[in-house]
Symmetry: C2
Subunit: 120 residues, 2 copies
Amino acid sequence: MSNNENILCDITCIHEDIVHKVKEASLREEDVQNLSSIFKAFGDPTRLKILYCLKQSEMCVCDISAILEMSQSAISHQLRVLRNLRLVKHRKEGKNVYYSLDDEHIFKILDEGLEHIRHI
Amino acid sequence: MSNNENILCDITCIHEDIVHKVKEASLREEDVQNLSSIFKAFGDPTRLKILYCLKQSEMCVCDISAILEMSQSAISHQLRVLRNLRLVKHRKEGKNVYYSLDDEHIFKILDEGLEHIRHI
DNA sequence: ATATTACATGAATAAGTATTCAGATGAGGT
DNA sequence: ACCTCATCTGAATACTTATTCATGTAATAT
């Protein structure tokens, strides 16, 4: 190490070559934020259940709140989060609002996750 | 609807057939908890960066803290979270502890997510 | 033995977040 | 016009969590 590339953390055991290479290949901060936001959305049990419901069928808010046995307000708040992240889309029909998954990728991410836990 | 399957929420617009069918096909609560825990782990920027580093190479704690320019303690705390969820494994060698991704699935989930945000 | 290094850990604090409650909006029916 | 129903929304609260700080531990070097 010897020379001090590391002003912030005074740790001396650094494997310079690896550190340098991996640091070069870092994700852009913007991508990290976007990506972690999406995973965070999947990371709440309620939202995960909602997404899993919508994976099976388009549905209105009251359907979801009936299935999950939770208040309509709680579901609505969570749907807003999912909407803002463009994980779900909605369509108005009379008094009802129908939600569905926005993208095939959402399917895949869900399935990949499910396959993982089955595998443990 | 007429009959009251819905004691918890007194909403009356339920599409009984869909609700019934989707409720049958629900994930087990245990699976939901496990799966959301894993996604939640991916949902923190720091942890996501750590995982992305380890995707490229096995690494010791101080390497990671150098790359992310964060305190060794912060990294260590997060590594514990990842360890508890079995997303990373570790190997001791002298004073150093080397971390790496535990499973091919972790790769895939990361990549699937990345592909998603590239696609927006 | 003593000092140093790499890492782990408990406690504390600050920031974030999920749900509830109360109320608002907007569409339909009477 | 009035009421009901489906949904949304802001505020409040209770809970979770990420980082820091201080300290502990185990391995190595002197």
